[in-house]
């Protein structure tokens, strides 16, 4: 579904990703772990199409098409979704209006019929129930005055509503208490599907106790330096990232 080859990305003149390669199949959950500054968030932002990230080499192919050639909204319509590490507050834009506009814009771009407000609200209520979210969230402006946990849950709610085919979760666990973490994980697990893939970017192993990945990668200094099954996350938790760095030095020697 997603094939990243030798990706080099520069941000503000500084090279952050230095030859990252990743192959994600439909139905899989990939976890990307790594120390601060390794380039984890850069990866998510590049895949979603944020400006200011200069791809200097490499390629990203999504369902056989060049993902990097698409505008952010085209990527969304093609099924790519980024759950933001820091969801943006947008005063004055009502959450329901925003969600419906996004939902219908994607459908329109795919040549599917748009939903009217009744049909849309019905769908929204179904998804709210699954995530145990309050209706009240819908009447507020997008993320405005939301607590950290509410913002993250709103991201997962959008994920559930928009039903993307490739979901990237950028440190969705940061700033969450254990109850909110479980709720987020439940939301994600309910969405696991043979046709859908997840890339879960995280600093800690904790989230992966609840969202069990098929593959775990360690990202350090702009590259994937180690890949393995779910047990790799536990080894990291035990030994710390320094352990990976030592193994790399040993391998190079």
């Amino acid at each position: 579904m997603l094939k990243i080859e030798n990706l080099h990305v520069r941000v503000a003149g500084k090279e952050i990703l230095k030859g990252l390669s990743l192959d994600v199949q439909a139905g899989q959950v990939h976890a990307i772990m790594g120390p601060n500054g390794a380039g984890k968030s850069t990866l998510g932002n590049v895949l979603a199409g944020r400006e200011g990230y200069e791809v200097t080499a490499g390629s990203v192919s999504y369902d056989g098409q060049d993902l990097l050639a698409l505008e952010p909204e085209q990527r969304a319509a093609a099924g790519v979704f980024l759950a933001f590490q820091y969801p943006v507050e947008i005063p004055g834009v009502n959450n329901t209006y925003f969600l419906r506009t996004a939902f219908n814009a994607q459908r329109k771009a795919r040549g599917e019929p748009e939903l009217d407000s009744m049909q849309f609200l019905k769908r929204v209520r179904e998804k709210l129930a699954v995530l145990h979210l309050k209706d009240e969230l819908l009447h507020r402006a997008v993320n405005e005055g939301f607590s950290g946990g509410e913002k993250k849950r709103n991201e997962i709610f959008q994920l559930a509503l928009l039903e993307p085919r490739l979901a990237i979760l950028d440190e969705t666990d940061s700033g969450l208490d254990i109850d909110a973490l479980k709720m987020v994980a439940d939301g994600v697990n309910a969405m696991r599907d043979p046709a859908r893939a997840f890339i879960v970017v995280t600093h800690y192993q904790r989230l992966l106790d609840y969202i069990v990945p098929d593959v775990v990668h360690v990202l350090a200094d702009g590259r994937i330096v180690e890949s393995g099954d779910a047990s790799l996350a536990h080894k990291l938790e035990e030994h710390g990232y320094a352990w990976v760095a030592q193994r790399r030095v040993a391998g190079a020697a």
Partner: protein, 370 residues
């Protein structure tokens, strides 16, 4: 004529007048180079112009002026709560639960034309409501000068929505003097669109104790449009309050100026003065200047002001796009939300939606953007 116009409207004879016209002098000078004839008040209105003001919910309470003169054919006033003097120069809102709709239309003729008029309005109702609308019909050079004197009596309250929509060859200078007696309340919401030069001078005297003014407003400009808003709010009695919140948007080569002057005069103790002016530029060639000027000469005054000029929030724009909303639609949503901060106070839903739609319609398509 040229020199006279410059001198009359924006003369540089005193340093104060020179300063007050600093940002709009060139736009005024361009006007002064034209030869104006007196605008014809008997010109017919095209159906689409009538449709702009013939709102069903203000039927029976509408006064229409064409090129400065009251039009009997288009006016429609049956409400007993509104008393109009024979020459229509003086209007008295005694008791009106429903709004008075005041419409001023500038209609261009074959030559550059000019109109000028003065209106006196007295408000003694505790629930008066006024919709003031200015239309500058496109198609020819036009200059309107409108002086409005409003006196709001003790304990009276006025809810006032002002909408001006001008064609690109229209210029409109409005000089509003608002006097407020003790415990009176005025809530004014302005929306300014279009015009080669539109200038709103809003002078307010909070003359009686505990008078309260709320001024909300927005301007949305594009092309080479030029708008200047100048507020001069004077706290003259104890415990008065003013709360000023304006939002400006300029695209392409448009130019906006907001001057928010609030003076708390000696003896106006216990005043509360708030001012917020935020502005967004949608193009590198657009320009907005904002100047909050607070002068305080009294004691126990609470005052706060903030003024910014910036770009549209790129993070918010990317957030909307990442969810599938196309760039232009995302821009419109953000600009509409920005203006809505100033228009949210309009209680009349239909009117607010109408103004929202006008603001959105004035954002250019991507190919027209610079």
């Amino acid at each position: 004529m040229e020199a006279a116009l410059l001198d009359e409207l924006g003369g540089a004879d005193t340093p104060e007048r020179a300063e007050a016209w600093r940002y709009s002098r060139n736009a005024l000078r361009a006007l002064a180079q034209m030869s104006f004839v007196a605008a014809d008040p008997d010109l017919a209105l095209a159906p689409e112009v009538c449709a702009q003001f013939a709102w069903p919910h203000t039927q029976g309470r509408r006064l229409v002026f064409i090129n400065g003169r009251l039009s009997g054919a288009h006016s429609d006033l049956r409400d007993e709560g509104i008393v109009v003097a024979a020459d229509a120069g003086t209007i008295h809102i005694v008791d009106a639960a429903r709004p008075l709709h005041l419409v001023h239309i500038g209609v261009p003729g074959a030559n550059a034309a000019r109109w000028q008029t003065t209106l006196d309005l007295q408000v003694s109702s505790a629930r008066a409501s006024l919709i003031e609308q200015h239309i500058g019909v496109p198609g020819g050079d036009l200059l309107g000068v409108f002086d409005l004197h409003i006196q709001v009596a003790e304990r009276a309250a006025l809810d006032w929505v002002v909408l001006s929509e001008l064609g690109e060859q229209a210029a409109l200078l409005r000089r509003v003097k608002l006097g407020m007696a003790g415990q009176s309340q005025v809530r004014r919401s302005d929306a300014l669109f279009g015009g080669r030069l539109q200038r709103l001078e809003l002078g307010v005297e909070l003359a009686g104790a505990q008078a309260r003014l709320e001024s909300r407003g927005t301007f949305v400009l594009r092309g080479r449009e030029h708008a200047e808003v100048r507020l001069d709010v004077r706290h003259q009695a104890r415990e008065c309050a003013c709360d000023v919140l304006w939002r400006g948007v300029a695209d392409q080569r448009a130019r906006g100026i907001f001057h928010g002057g609030i003076t708390v005069e000696p003896g106006a103790d216990g005043s509360d003065a708030r001012l917020s002016s935020k502005n967004v530029l949608l193009s590198a060639l657009a320009e907005i200047d904002t100047q909050p000027v607070l002068e305080i000469h009294a004691d126990e005054v609470q005052a706060g002001h903030g003024a910014t000029v910036g770009q549209i929030d790129e993070r918010a724009l990317f957030y909307l796009r990442s969810r599938g909303i196309p760039l232009e639609q995302a821009r419109r949503m953000l600009v509409a939300a920005f203006c809505a901060q100033a228009l949210g106070a309009i209680g009349d839903d239909g009117l607010r939606e109408r103004i929202d739609a006008l603001a959105q319609a004035r954002l250019p398509s991507p190919d027209a953007a610079q």
